[in-house]
Amino acid sequence: MARLVLLFNDQVIREYPFVKQSMTIGREAENDIQIDNLAVSGFHARIDKTGESFILTDLQSTNGTFVGDKKIVSHKLSHSEKINIGKHVILFLASEKEDGVLPGSEKEGGLDKTMILDTAKQRELLAKQESAAPRVAKPKKIGVLTFLDGSKEGEIELTKKLTRIGKAGNSEVKLSGLFMGATSATISKRPSGYAISFAGGMTKLKINGDVVKNSVQLNDFDTIELGSYRFQFYQKDLG
């Protein structure tokens, strides 16, 4: 079994056997390794056991996590490596059975192979990580269409993955007009953000005045025109 040894001024304070899937290090009492020192963040770092390897991840701590003198974001631990957090040192000791992590003996099929983390624990940790990193965490956003012109008023939140705009009854945004397509355009939420596509009908789709025949990415405050209708697109913070 692997072990972690907490040291302060070269004095052993405590030894922790690595019995769980992952262990957290931080100032708060809920941590597996609690270090009551102001230089240490509430949830400072964690170590995950994945297969035969141990991965150290800095949880976006204020003062950083170091292995030796190198600041790390995530790091695969090797036997007898020292983790520096504030003035404390945590020594990592791999067990004999986990020879794969001994220095210089990169075992074949180690991290190259796809593995799954203990997901329940991972969720929890990632959630903590998110709260530990409020400076950089991106707020969840939702796209909104505001009518600028035309017979309708107000705002429409794009709550669906695919929003259809057109004359058809099943359209999320229903517009009238002799030449309006049943589905004239669609807005879809994709991994890279919102994109608008021309779908059909004789009414042209224009974004910021340019005719779009295919699809384009939508940016905040783009103007969308369909016949006599004009909207503005932007994303607002959720909650």
Partner: protein, 290 residues
């Protein structure tokens, strides 16, 4: 060559370093469903997991499509942000997860087995792309490449949270550690995206054995230079083997028909002119109003 129907093809290859091929895929042009899965877990478990997942998603989606009821007989809750077919893909993946999970917990020899999955459903007016894990779906449309899947890996989630940059992620030792797969938990949340199809769309589904070695921009180039879907899949696998083939590699390509030409009748053009004129008049009238 252009035709008016969907053309699809798929190849899986064991690669140069592995003994077994744990990837599975399926093509069903009638159903419009294309699935790729990358299994994990020792012995034959990975292969079993990916095969079962692919089969179950096909079966359950087919059952819904052929039942001709408008009832939403879903496994699990309904996601209000998705269409009915989107919800059925989601439900099919949940069901497959449950079966793989039960097998993994009940049989000793299946312990630890799991699989990723990507599914693409093509309907006349809707494309559904769903994934769990790090297998991917790409769309090449109008000279651009775009991912229609989200990697469920530690690094991808850290990039999204802003903790890690893309550059750091690329070199991270955690690249292959999944945060979600089929089989690890009782329930699973799949990523589902819905878009409108466009003529000549080309969709590529692949496992990480391909996307590890070929970057997005290169994938785009290969797709654009590719001929039919069969030759395209072959070019991908050849390229993977040339670059070391460290893992099983599977690629499925789906080409949508070029239906645009049919629409481009003279009537449509005339109609377009009239529509432009009317829109102009409407606008002018609005501007005159006080």
């Amino acid at each position: 060559m252009q035709t008016d129907r969907i053309r699809a093809s798929g190849i899986t290859d064991v690669g140069l370093k592995r003994e077994e091929n744990e990837d599975s895929f399926s093509l069903d042009d009638d159903l419009g469903l294309y699935v790729v899965a990358d299994g994990m877990g020792g012995h034959l478990a990975g292969e079993v997991a990916s095969r079962i997942a692919v089969d179950l998603v096909n079966k359950s989606f087919r059952k819904w499509k052929e039942s001709e009821t408008s009832d939403l007989d879903l496994y699990g809750y309904k996601d209000p942000s998705l269409t009915d077919p989107g919800n059925h893909i989601l439900s099919s993946i949940r069901l497959a997860n449950r079966v793989v999970f039960e097998m993994a917990t009940e049989n000793n020899e299946c312990h630890g087995m799991g699989t990723t999955i990507v599914a693409l459903a093509v309907m006349p007016d809707l494309i559904i792309a769903a994934n769990v894990g790090d297998s991917r779906i790409y769309l090449v449309r109008g000279g651009e490449i775009e991912r229609l899947s989200k990697d469920h890996t530690v690094v991808a989630e850290q990039v999204e949270m802003g903790i890690m940059t893309e550059e750091e992620a690329h070199h991270s030792p955690l690249n292959h550690i999944l945060t979600r797969n089929l089989g690890a938990n009782k329930d699973v949340r799949a990523e589902v995206f819905e878009i409108e199809p466009a003529p000549n769309d080309r969709y590529i589904l692949c496992t990480d054995g391909v996307s590890d070695l070929i970057l997005d921009e290169e994938i785009k180039r290969i797709v654009e230079e590719g001929d039919g879907p069969e030759t395209l899949c072959r070019s991908f696998i050849d390229e993977v083997l040339k670059r070391g083939g460290h893992d099983n590699a599977t690629v499925v390509s789906v080409y949508l028909p070029d239906i645009e030409q049919k629409k481009q009748g003279i009537l449509r053009k005339m109609g377009g002119l009239v529509a432009d004129m009317l829109a102009g008049i409407q606008k002018a009238r609005k501007n005159i109003r006080p």
